[in-house]
């Protein structure tokens, strides 16, 4: 299997997968349940998600391990099972992906704040190291550090994955539009702030996920491209912003609506496009079709 960055550099535009969290919820995961524990207790259901994205035409799929770090699992008293849970996550996705497709081991934020002294840099490094190694050993050929809002935490996670595995490293942060029309993370980090620091820390691919709809991602990609013309860029966009209807939350963008922005996103310089919250295999199928037919 070639590296993702190699495929991108040879001119390919790639398709990533869609939502996991909202998919698990649709399968009956209740609020307050630990999503990652499903890797152990309901691996068949998790496999269904992974396989549905492969069948939809994704070139790469994630793992069900977003909250699989020591600190997140500690919320459920599962912090001693980091290795078991993350390995299982990667094994399930690898089984669905076969040998040809990529498996991106998902690593989310710890929820701990360096600036408040909740944890030290070393604590974070060790937590990310433990999770990344387990994902890699379970069969992930890339690690995707995602939904980051603190640049220090993102940098430490990239470094930990880079220094302790041979996986490709992807890092995406979550940006929202400010009242001034700029894009910033919750911690105030702009796409421009992110670029050099994350690449220097060892990321092969950078980008953005979650936060807003796919339309806003166009400006984010443009801003990244202004700072770096060559680094591969990956986008995982939500199916719009959540709307509450009859006791349920709905992400309103249809596959066709989302796909209508794919061309502009590619023209802005994105190399890999997939979905985040609210996207389904149908969204990915439509995005994959659009990417395939896209000509500049």
């Amino acid at each position: 299997m070639n590296k993702i960055a190699y495929e991108i550099k040879s001119g390919k535009k790639l398709v990533s997968d869609g939502a996991w969290g909202t998919f698990l919820q649709k399968m009956g995961m209740g609020p307050g349940e630990c999503p990652e524990l499903w890797n152990i207790e309901k691996p068949g259901q998790v496999y269904k998600i992974a396989k549905s994205y492969i069948d939809a035409g994704a070139d790469m799929i994630e793992t069900n391990s977003f909250g699989g770090s020591f600190y997140k699992l500690a919320n459920y008293g599962l912090q001693h099972r980091v290795v078991e849970i993350n390995r299982a996550a990667a094994e399930i996705s690898r089984r669905a992906a076969g040998k040809e497709k990529h498996v991106l081991g998902s690593v989310g934020p710890t929820g701990k704040m360096l600036i408040m002294g909740d944890v030290t840099e070393e604590d974070l490094y060790n937590a990310f190291k433990e999770q990344a190694i387990a994902l890699y050993q379970g069969g992930a050929d890339a690690i995707v550090i995602e939904t980051m809002s603190d640049l220090d935490e993102a940098r430490i996670a990239v470094k930990a994955a880079r220094e302790n595995t041979a996986a490709e490293i992807i890092c995406t942060m979550t940006f929202e539009k400010t009242v001034n029309g700029e894009y910033r993370s919750m911690m105030g980090v702009s796409p421009t702030d992110m670029v050099n620091i994350i690449i220097d820390a060892g990321a092969d691919i950078i980008g953005a996920n979650c936060g807003n709809g796919i339309e806003g991602m166009i400006d984010i990609v443009k801003e990244i491209r202004k700072n770096n013309a060559d680094i591969p860029v990956l986008i995982h966009a939500n199916a719009g912003l959540p709307v509450y209807q009859d006791g349920q939350t709905i992400f309103p963008e249809t596959p066709v609506q989302m796909a209508s922005f794919v061309g502009k996103l590619l023209d802005a310089g994105a190399n890999v496009i997939g979905g985040c919250c609210g996207t389904t295999p149908l969204h990915i199928t439509k995005i994959a079709e659009t990417i395939k037919n896209h000509t500049r």
Binding site: P31, S185, Y244, T249
Partner: protein, 222 residues
């Protein structure tokens, strides 16, 4: 005295905790909220003036800047740290009753949701505005909110949710609480929440930012 209070307000606004704190870099080596508050009280400035003319003012300024996206979460957290450090010196005055708080605000993240950053920000801003805050933590069941609301008659309640899946729990909590305590004012917040959701579930107020919550509380108590 006014100058000293102005300095404390400045320390809170910019998150200067104490002399040793390296943040913000342009105030390195200067006294912070800690030392200046101590000094003010020793010089006979009333605790009430320290609260109202320094801490509340500094927190209000940072709250407004946060709403306008001129500062972000880290700056607010540092301001809150500076405010808390100063507040420690005021504790005896609260306990003796020589300074009164504006009222009681009970806050928590709804059942099923473990996220606390947004809740903590609101909690800090409200406390820094002179309210007593009872923080119930995360994953708070309706019964616990009810218990706290009964234990603190006249309090106002704040509910937080980050996950779209726990918005349903927020709705349930609001409905159950309103049924039992129709006069209880409830305000809600969180990334997926908005004002049309608030109307649907029957809560009293929604704010996209902590300062809005502070302003709503002050209007209620006015």
């Amino acid at each position: 005295m006014e100058q000293l209070l102005g300095k404390i307000a400045h320390c809170v606004e910019f998150g200067k905790i104490n002399l040793a704190a390296p943040y913000p870099p342009d105030m390195k080596g200067q006294e912070g909220a800690d030392e200046l508050t101590k000094k003010a009280l020793e010089q006979g400035v009333s605790a009430e003036d320290v609260l109202k003319k320094a801490l509340v003012l500094g927190m209000e300024r940072v709250g407004i800047k946060f709403r306008e996206n001129k500062v972000y979460v880290p700056q607010v957290l540092m301001s809150a740290k500076a405010m808390h450090t100063a507040m420690e010196h005021l504790k005896p005055y609260f306990q003796s009753g020589s300074v009164k708080r504006k009222g009681i605000f009970v806050i928590g993240t709804v059942a099923g949701d473990l996220h606390d950053i947004g809740k903590n920000l609101v909690s800090m801003m409200v406390e820094g505005n002179g309210w007593q805050v009872v923080d119930l933590g995360t994953d708070v069941k309706t019964e616990k909110f009810l218990e706290a609301a009964k234990a603190h008659p006249g309090c106002t309640l704040g509910l937080s949710a980050l996950l779209t899946t726990t918005m349903g729990n927020m709705e349930k909590t609001v409905k159950d609480l309103k049924e039992q305590l129709p006069d209880l004012k409830i305000l809600i917040g969180g990334a997926p929440v908005n004002d049309s959701f608030r109307q649907k579930i029957g809560a009293d107020f929604y704010s996209p930012d902590p300062q809005g919550a502070v302003e709503f509380l002050n209007k209620l108590s006015a």
